[in-house]
């Protein structure tokens, strides 16, 4: 059935809450208001004020409380509104949530999900547009999910809620209103498995979140030039599904990573380093990176567009990979 990404996220939350009464949700403006993007509209009425709770503006307490509830038997879904606000609770996510089980022992399971809305969204500016995956890739123990389609969003959120590991679930603001085919009924998508969004043979393009759509647009353009790119959506950023990417590179011998956050020390930096270490003998050229310019996100919309990669930027990078000095 066709539904938007936002509807898919809401459906996953609703269905899981109906299935398991250990699932509770809290965060800023999620109750009566139904979340600033409308994700949890109607949840308060359906699940009541014990399971659907507003919080004060207290990100550290939101994350910490989720941790405590998770360790003691509940399955909290904490909401941090903008992904940018994860930084307010950075210690809680980085030190506590990610490491709690490692530091305390196998009895300490943290079945908790931290949801946040990330990415550029037409003038949200420097503090409300960040993609934060790369910041948290440095935290072993944390699972980071960044879906690009409604079907993936629903299936992965369900898996995240059912997982006993702590999960940072990054929803893209610009994707909320995009539509896609979502399977009927209860289904999950496994965590840690990448998806080939479009098969191809010349260059492997690993794209994340909104950039998956941009990469698919680039694929259309390039096809007209006789260039065939394979678009891979890792979906789970950490732990990363290396094998799907490796298999693709063994076929194409070229790799480009496309992300929406700043290039320096971004997802692409890590993946490029990993690929040159582990796939050197399969690569027929340097691993490419397409990312946002290394500037804070500008408020001006024209410049915001300029800062973030588009399909043309991706296509150019692909052509450069294949260029030969004839």
């Amino acid at each position: 059935m066709q539904m938007t990404y936002l509807q898919a996220v809401a459906a996953a939350l609703r269905e899981e809450m109906q299935r398991d009464d250990k699932i509770i949700m809290f965060g800023e403006d999620i109750a009566e208001f139904g979340n600033i993007f409308g994700v949890t509209r109607g949840f308060l009425e359906e699940f009541g004020p014990k399971r659907i709770r507003n919080t004060p503006i207290s990100e550290t307490a939101i994350v910490g409380t989720a941790l405590g509830a998770a360790v003691t038997g509940f399955r909290p879904v904490a909401e941090l509104m903008y992904a940018d606000f994860t930084m307010v609770a950075f210690t809680e996510i980085f030190h506590c949530v990610s490491k709690w089980r490692f530091m305390h022992g196998a009895d300490y399971k943290l079945p908790m999900v931290i949801r946040c809305a990330m990415g550029s969204s037409f003038g949200a500016g420097s503090e409300h547009s960040n993609c934060v995956e790369s910041l948290f890739m440095h935290a072993p123990g944390l699972t980071i999910i960044s879906p690009s389609t409604p079907a993936d969003a629903k299936g992965l959120l369900k898996s995240a809620i059912r997982s006993d590991n702590p999960i940072l679930f990054c929803e893209h603001k610009q994707l909320y209103q995009t539509k896609g085919e979502v399977p009927e009924g209860d289904y999950t998508i496994p965590i840690g498995v990448a998806d080939v969004k479009r098969p191809g043979k010349d260059v492997t393009v690993i794209a994340v979140g909104l950039m998956v759509r941009r990469a698919l647009e680039a694929a259309e353009k390039l096809e007209k030039e006789g260039i065939s790119i394979e678009v891979i959506d890792p979906r789970t950023i950490a732990p990363f599904d290396k094998e799907t990417v490796f298999e693709s590179i063994r076929k194409t011998h070229h790799a480009i990573i496309v992300e929406e956050s700043n290039k320096t020390a971004g997802i692409g930096a890590e993946l490029a380093a990993m690929l040159q270490e582990e796939m050197y003998d399969e690569l027929d050229g340097p691993v490419g990176r397409v990312a946002a310019l290394d500037v804070p996100m500008p408020y001006n919309i024209t410049l915001e567009k300029h800062v973030i990669p588009d399909a043309d930027d991706i296509a150019k990078a692909v052509r450069a990979q294949l260029a030969r000095s004839l």
Binding site: T60, A61, T65, G68, A69, V71, R101, H104, G105, D107
Partner: protein, 320 residues
């Protein structure tokens, strides 16, 4: 208030257990058998002992780095605790967590954080679990006068208060955050109790050299929490007898004051009370001391037999 001899003996035994646990840590550390650093809680045992005497089955505990021996009376296995402190695979976290994370999930210990204050909300989360389960349990949070100035603690207190969660915030005010006196870092004389009003919580302060007095103050607050009145703050007045870490000579403070506090030692005070009230003879006290010490030594010997973790162990608890 009148107490049975058994009750007082039990309290004394708990007090002694923490004291010896803390002393043994110091010994092991000096002998080079503990990596990293430890934070001895000698002299601060009455605070946690008196408070934890109010506990019951199903309660949750967020202890702090001082005294970590609190875990002993909550019921964490001694051998596991020593193995964790010594970095052995027999520790609760395979020797990966260390002294700041030795714990026991089964007994309601939710773990604690080395970044002080970030774990207060975890105890609030445990309080949320209690409220969801609709039991009369309590989630105990121990923190210090230093942590009382951290933002996350205040976010946690506020959230507990607005949700009326069953949480007891216990501020063990030992008067120093490393070298910084509480009188400098807080504008109020009671950095725990005085701030409770900001969150609409009841509070009490208590002389924490007297374990029975601590118990009585805690019991009053805990009874209210178990009755569904929401969180409260208990501030235990005490003194950090040793340095912040082993090797800290505490030159930044008046040694004469330290000596005065040593005379008010909570263990000596309890022993005097037991003898004065005819609960135990000096010989019985000696025998109990020997018994508890022997337990510690047996646990250390057993922990010492635990092997070092291997590189494979690094990945065992990373993901479920």
């Amino acid at each position: 208030m009148q107490y049975t001899a058994d009750f007082l003996k039990k309290v004394y035994r708990d007090l002694l257990s923490i004291r010896f646990f803390e002393e043994k840590q110091v010994e092991l550390y000096a002998a080079g058998r503990i990596p990293g650093h430890i934070h001895s809680g000698i002299g601060e045992e009455a605070g946690v002992t008196g408070v934890l005497t109010t506990r019951k089955e199903g309660d949750f505990f967020k202890i702090s780095h001082r005294p970590v021996g609190a875990g002993v009376i909550i019921g964490a296995p001694l051998e596991t605790m020593f193995a964790e402190i010594m970095g052995r695979v027999g520790g609760n976290a395979l020797g990966m967590g260390g002294v700041l994370h030795m714990t026991c999930r089964e007994k309601g210990m939710i773990g604690f954080s080395g970044t002080l204050g970030c774990d207060a909300a975890a105890a609030v989360g445990a309080g949320l679990t209690i409220q969801m389960n609709e039991t009369d349990n309590v989630s105990y949070v121990f923190y210090g006068d230093g942590t009382s100035n951290r933002g996350p603690l205040h976010e946690a207190m506020n959230l507990a208060a607005i949700w009326k969660l069953p949480v007891l915030f216990v501020c063990n005010n030992n008067q120093f955050a490393i070298s910084t006196p509480s009188s400098y870092s807080s504008a109020v004389p009671n950095p725990g109790a005085d701030r409770a009003a900001a969150y609409g919580m009841p509070s009490k302060t208590v002389d924490a050299t007297d374990v029975v007095a601590v118990y009585e103050a805690a019991k009053e607050l805990v009874d209210g929490i178990r009755a569904g009145n929401g969180p409260a703050v208990l501030e235990c007045k005490m003194y950090r007898v040793r340095g912040h870490f082993e090797g800290d000579q505490a030159k930044y403070r008046d040694a004469a004051v330290t000596e005065e506090w040593k005379k008010k030692d909570c263990v000596l005070k309890m022993e005097k009370k037991l003898v004065d009230e005819g609960v135990m003879t000096a010989e019985e006290i000696e025998a109990l001391r020997a018994e508890v010490l022997a337990e510690m030594e047996a646990a250390i010997d057993a922990a010492d037999k635990s092997p070092e973790p291997t590189p494979e162990d690094l990945y065992r608890n990373l993901y479920v």
